[in-house]
Symmetry: C2
Subunit: 221 residues, 2 copies
Amino acid sequence: MKISVVKNVLDANDRIAMDNRTLFDTNKTYVINLMSSPGAGKTTLVEKTIEALKDKYVISVIEGDIQDTCDADRVAKLGIPVVQINTGGACHIDGNMVREALPAFNLEKTDLLVVENVGNLVCPAEFKVGENVKVMILSTPEGADKPAKYPLMFQESSVMIINKMDLIPYVDFDMKRAKRDALVSNKDLKIFEVSCKTSSGLSDWFQWLEDQIESFRKSSP
Amino acid sequence: MKISVVKNVLDANDRIAMDNRTLFDTNKTYVINLMSSPGAGKTTLVEKTIEALKDKYVISVIEGDIQDTCDADRVAKLGIPVVQINTGGACHIDGNMVREALPAFNLEKTDLLVVENVGNLVCPAEFKVGENVKVMILSTPEGADKPAKYPLMFQESSVMIINKMDLIPYVDFDMKRAKRDALVSNKDLKIFEVSCKTSSGLSDWFQWLEDQIESFRKSSP
């Protein structure tokens, strides 16, 4: 008996994520999948990024939460199109949830779509949504041991934003260890040190993001 | 055609958790399932609790982490029997993982077993391990919106420990909102305000835990 082996078949989520990706490419929409622990500062970073770039780019947001609309309410106040995905208990956003949200946007006119994932340092790292880039936030009160303890998150992300730098004097955060261990998981990880409260360091993040959007626009369709 | 309906069948995890529970009851071992976001202070609370109660009770610890042994190393330094469960990517500890760890302990002589779950505010709340009580930690830098955003965790837990009270002057934490929303999920939630760094408030937690252990010992077998 010969056993037929089917290799490299996309799983259901990867299939849908790839379809999303095609749609984003067609419309030249740059997509960020933003992940972190609960309370690391995802929504505040989204607010600050919108304020900094909204005169230059058309921005839309997908908010992923288990059940509420707190974060979507905050973004809507800035006059930005936002869709709330309530996962109803699920610990991450997947490709199909994002697909269901897309008809609410005018993608052709959207330059930047931010998908704010459910607060969780484990599960969201496993599911693509069709993003250009995965960005994760590590906040200083969480501790410098997190890159060693949750390696997949750091391996999958292209960017680590170290947030709450304003709390450095009051927490024990070994910056050298955090960076070293994160780079072990992903030697190409781009790192920013910021405080979304005082805005320190954010201009570097805005500039990097702008460069990414511009370079994506110039790429072949 | 009559359709037969089988009701209230335990799922696989509940079945194993119940078997664990029977074992703990037989040995009079009081078991805590300790949960929180990454970096909220689970291991530090475990260390402080061991230091406070180890002369009175025989304590053992199960550490749940995706891959490392950082936390188990910290506990082992205190001379306490500890088993590390590496979940290999799984975002929570389940009943079977705990069952596999139990042969390493002398349960008959163990008064208190602390199961420190994987850092995650979503998934661990769904899986019983056979515990007497689920205890969750909310740290002030995470923000007061967490009880509204992750209701299952607060609903399932009997105790909420609000940790990092020493950071209150430096973070925006609306204590009234956090407590109100947590009590909406669970009106019987027992709440402690502590700082594992300064030890403030910890004596109330130790006393509560001691009362629980004593009352469990006196209960029928």
